[in-house]
Each structure stands twice: as C-alpha cells, then as structure tokens.
C-alpha cells in the first residue's frame, strides 16, 4: 500500500513527472511491489549484518599521481548546451 502523496513525494525526489493516469497506475503497481517485498519485514534478521559490499576487499587506494584527462572539447562534446566551455543550465532559482 502506498498513498498518492507518497508517490508524488517520491516522484519529486527522483525528478520524475507523471500525468494523472500514470500516477494512478504507478500507485497501484508500486503498491503491489511494496506489498510483495514487504515479506522481508517478517523475517527476524536482527543477528545479521547487512551486506553492503559484495567483495571482501578493503583499502583499495590509488597513488596521488596525475593522469591526463579530457580536452575541453571532448569534455563538453556531448553537452546539449555549452557556452564558453561551460555547461549551460536554465534558471535555478
């Protein structure tokens, strides 16, 4: 079960826009999925640590040595809107 407000709130957090019809359908689909995954809440897993990392590695680091990067042209080449070597974005405020 998920409320309409929650769906709208999550959509805002994810920067997604849905029309009325989509919101209604999403509410239903998400509700079903959440009900399904809810089964995990029944499990008593209090003795277990969450697996946050898939490999038992630690201390993987790199030396503080410079490596050549991209030219300004390559860096901005895929930009939808570029001005004077910078990425343009619309009014933020």
């Amino acid at each position: 079960m998920i409320s309409r407000q929650e769906v709208e709130h999550v959509a805002r957090l994810a920067r997604l826009h849905f029309d009325e019809e989509e919101l209604a359908r999403l509410q239903q689909e998400l509700g079903q999925i959440i009900d399904y995954v809810q089964q995990l809440a029944e499990l008593d897993l209090s003795g277990l640590e969450p697996t946050s990392h898939a490999v038992p590695l630690k201390n993987v680091l790199r030396a503080d040595e410079p490596v050549d990067g991209l030219s300004q042209a390559d860096a901005t080449g895929n930009g939808p809107d570029v001005e004077r070597g910078q990425f343009v974005v619309p009014r933020i405020g």
């Binding site: 709130h9 805002r12 957090l13 920067r15 946050s52 990392h53 898939a54 490999v55 590695l57 630690k58 201390n59 993987v60 680091l61 790199r62 030396a63 503080d64 040595e65 410079p66 490596v67 990067g69 991209l70 030219s71 300004q72 860096a75 901005t76 001005e83 004077r84 070597g85 910078q86 990425f87 343009v88 974005v89 619309p90 009014r91 933020i92 405020g93």
Partner: protein
C-alpha cells in the same frame, strides 16, 4: 565579554546563542579525491576533467591515498579517534554542480570522531570546543549565475557549470555546539585554520575557498533546552562569519520576542547589506537517501599506520607553546604568539640558538622584527633579514660593539639593503679605527691590564689571543682594524714562550 551571554535587543530577557560550526577544508593533494585529474585553481573551465569527475555513464571512483593520509592528519591533530573501519556513503541530491547527482561522502562511519580544540580567547581564558567528527568527501563543481544583475542565483536567467573543481578532496570538520558567541566562533576558526595550516595539507584560504565555514545557530534562555537551529551559509571571511552570526542571532531573538517561531531552514548572509535571508526555494527539504557506496571498499587503518601519521605530525601549537615557555623561560603571552605563527616561532628558535640569549631574541623578534613585518606587509619567509643575520647583529650588541640605539639604526638599514650588520657597521663610518698610534695605545693598555691572560698566551695558549681581540673590539666598539689589532697584540704580548 566574549564569554557572557548575548543580551536580547530589548534587554528584557537574557538569551544565549548555541553555535556549531561545519568547516570544509580543501586538501592540496596533487589529484582529485576519486580520479587522477589535477587539483587546480583559476584554470580555463572544464580543462581538468575526465569521464570520472564528469559523471559519465559507466565510470567508477578510486580513492586517493594521500587524501586519506591528510584527512587522518587533521583528525589526529584534533585529537580524534581514528575509526577501525570507515566507509563512504552516497549523498543523493540533484544540482547542476554535482555531476553524478550524488556526492561521495561519509555518513555514520566517519574517519575521525570525538576530538577537541582548545581555543584561546581574548581574555586569556582557554575554552575546549568538542569536535564531533572529521570525514572525507568530494567537492562539487563551480556554478556561475548569468544574465541577472547581481551574479547571484535570484534573478539569473541561466547558469554555467565548470567541473574543474569537481572531485577535489574535502575534509569536513564538525564541531559540537559548544560555542556561544560570535567572538568565540571567530577565535575557534582562526585557531583551527592556523592548526590546519601547520599540517601542510591545505592552503586554508577563505577568500579562495580552500577553507569554508557554515554555522548552525539557535538561541535559548540559559538553562532551557536547545532552540530550533538554522543553517547559516556563505560566510567567506572571518569578518563575515562574525557579522553573519551576529545578524542571525539578532534575527532569531527578535523573532522569538515577537512571538514567532524559528523555522528550521538555510539562511544566507549577504555581506553587502549585513542581512540574513531565507534560501528556501520550491524544492523540498533534502532527503539525501544515504546508503553505503558500493563502488568503493571500506578503509581500515591499522595502528601502525595511525602511529606513523601521528609521528609525522609537526609540533602543534598547544604543545609548542608549552615547550617554548618552558625551554626559553618565556612569558605565556610571548610563547603563545610564537607558537601560533609557526614560521615566526621557527625564526625565533634559530635566533635564540645562535645568540644563546632567548630573552633578547624574543624581545627583538616580537618587537622590532614583527613591527617591521607588519609595516612591510610581508610574512616571515619573505623577510630580507634572515635569522642568522639578526643573530649576528644581536651578537654585536652583546659584545658591546653596538649600543641598543645603534642596533635599531643598523637593523633598519639591514631591512632596506639586505646587508649584514657587520657590513653596515664597517661601511657606515661606525668605521674602523686604523690609526696605529691610537690602536697601539689601546692595545698596550689592555695587555697591561690583563697580566694573567698575557702570561697564558706566552705559555702557548693561542686561543687567549681571541680574548684580547675581543677586549680591543669592545673598547673600540668593533671599529678597530682587526689585522692591525692582531699585529699589535703579538707585538705587545711578545713571542710564545717555550
């Protein structure tokens, strides 16, 4: 003044401010936190970037070992405990200067916890400010707002993004809310800055942005629970920090006294008007959805590593102050001044070692020398008068060649010409006495006045000659011609005996 509660504007009730500071230190490693791009300043836009720090699809971060070491240095200098296991988290939010739409930072397992900084206040009292945590994260890119009048977000038509700065290593230092006045806050930040500077891990320049400070501020009546806090941002100088805090404290007090409630929000300090204003936009309060960064491994620093970093720490101000006071019998205030400014302290110690007189050295270094630096607007490192040169000059004072008054004159000439004291004494017709007759008389007098040493010399003790030379120099205020003095002495002392 600096420790008493701030009085409300109406003066009718007492208010106390509760201030916690969040400081960001930009590290001066060669490369960025998670990629090999150079850390630079002031370069053409998007010329020090790569797919990783641009957040391209498919890229992965790799942690800079130097950044970890520098962060550990800061944590240890603040007396924090280094975590056995520290991990990175993703802090998720959308903003144009954040290319991955998440910042790799640290959340509940930061690198350092539970430290403190002892802050010396104006009245000489020492206040211990707790350090909650020290953690590592990456910087965002730079946004320029264009098209509007003020160059600020409000009123801008659009914005431009440069990612050169994006990915630069940052260390975040969070203080406990132990600070209660703007004066204390400034003292804390000043001394923290000085401490970090001595670790050689950052330029800690507020104007350039390698040192940034935000504050969490609330007010309450003394003894009552904490009030609602606001976050105060954009104070990019010590002066603005002070003014911003004053303004926000005043605003909160006025608000509460008018019966309003404080809203938890971000406020922006405008240095032009001295006012604080709300930064709230139509965006929701941030829900950062922290979760452990799956692309990076945990970092476990063992005891050997921690001890090595600790051992590599330079002598920190607090310890140095004690040692200087102790070793050189200096008054606390002098010791503090010399400890706080590392280059000045180094200079003093070099002079003291050469002259063997800490008192005199301290007086000169903290007196005339510091005054000169101030007037000239330079740092110790740029001084034309090195420690050895000053020591030499003080030697001439010590042996009577120069009077105190003459020394000041000579010092001034030293600063403008870069010449040594000896040279100046010789040039300036504090000149040598080379009149044979005059010298002869002086030498004769001194030899007859010192029969003991004269005898020693005759029995083969060459070194005693130096004593006589010194005496002659003393008599002539360093102006006797040394070669002539030598010859005359040998003449009057006679040959070495068998």
């Amino acid at each position: 003044m600096s420790n008493s509660p701030v009085t409300g504007t109406t003066g009718s009730s007492e208010w106390e401010a509760v201030i916690g500071l969040e400081i960001h230190v930009q590290l001066n490693t060669r490369t960025k936190m998670f990629c090999g791009c150079r850390v630079t300043f002031g370069e053409p836009p998007n010329t020090h970037v790569c797919p990783v720090c641009l957040g391209h699809p498919g890229v992965l971060p790799v942690t800079n070992e130097k950044a970890v070491e520098y962060a550990a240095r800061i944590a240890l200098a603040l007396d924090c405990r280094i975590a056995d296991r520290t991990i990175f988290h993703r802090k998720n939010y959308f903003y144009p200067d954040l290319p991955k739409a998440y910042q790799i930072s640290q959340y509940d397992l930061p690198l350092g916890i539970g430290g403190h900084l002892d802050v010396e206040l104006e009245d000489g009292a020492v206040m211990r400010v707790g350090i909650t945590r020290v953690h590592m994260e990456e910087d965002a890119g730079k946004l320029i707002h264009a098209g509007g009048a003020s160059g600020r977000i409000d009123g801008a038509d659009y914005s431009l993004v440069d990612f050169n700065r994006g990915g630069t290593p940052l260390v975040e230092i969070v203080s406990e809310p132990d600070i209660t006045t703007p004066d204390q806050a400034r003292a804390f930040l000043t001394q923290l800055r000085s401490l970090v500077e001595q670790l050689a891990v950052s330029d800690v320049n507020m104007e350039e942005g390698s040192l940034r400070c935000d504050a969490n501020v609330s007010v309450r009546h003394p003894g009552e629970p904490f009030g609602t806090k606001t976050e105060l941002k954009n104070m990019n100088s010590f002066r603005f920090l002070h003014r911003g805090l004053e303004a926000e404290i005043e605003r909160q007090i006025a608000s509460l006294e008018a019966g309003e409630r404080i809203v938890q929000e971000t406020v922006h300090f405008d240095p032009a008007t001295g006012m604080v204003s709300s930064l709230r936009s139509k965006e929701e309060a941030h829900d950062y959805r922290y979760f452990p960064e799956p692309d990076l491994t945990p970092i476990e620093l063992d005891e050997a590593y921690v001890e090595r970093v600790r051992g590599d720490l330079p002598e920190l101000p607090a310890a140095r102050k004690e040692r200087l006071a102790d070793q050189y019998s200096l008054p606390p205030k002098d010791a503090a001044l010399l400890a706080e400014n590392k280059p000045l302290g180094d200079y003093f110690e070099a002079v003291a070692a050469a002259t063997g007189d800490a008192r005199v050295s301290a007086n000169w270094v903290l007196g005339d020398f510091s005054a000169f630096l101030n007037t000239a607007g330079i740092e110790v490192g740029a001084s034309p008068v090195g420690a050895a040169a000053l020591a030499e000059m003080l030697g001439l004072v010590a042996d009577g060649t120069l009077s105190g008054k003459m020394a000041k004159e000579v010092f001034e000439v030293m600063t403008t010409t870069g010449k040594s004291a000896m040279e100046i004494v010789a040039e300036k017709g504090m000149g040598q006495i080379s009149d044979a007759g005059e010298l002869d008389a002086i030498v004769a007098r001194i030899v007859s006045a010192n029969p003991g040493p004269a005898e020693e010399f005759r029995y083969g003790r060459d070194r005693v000659l130096g004593f006589f030379v010194g005496q002659v120099m003393k008599e002539t205020r360093g102006q006797a011609n040394p070669q002539m003095v030598n010859d005359l002495l040998r003449k009057h002392l006679g040959a070495h005996g068998e």
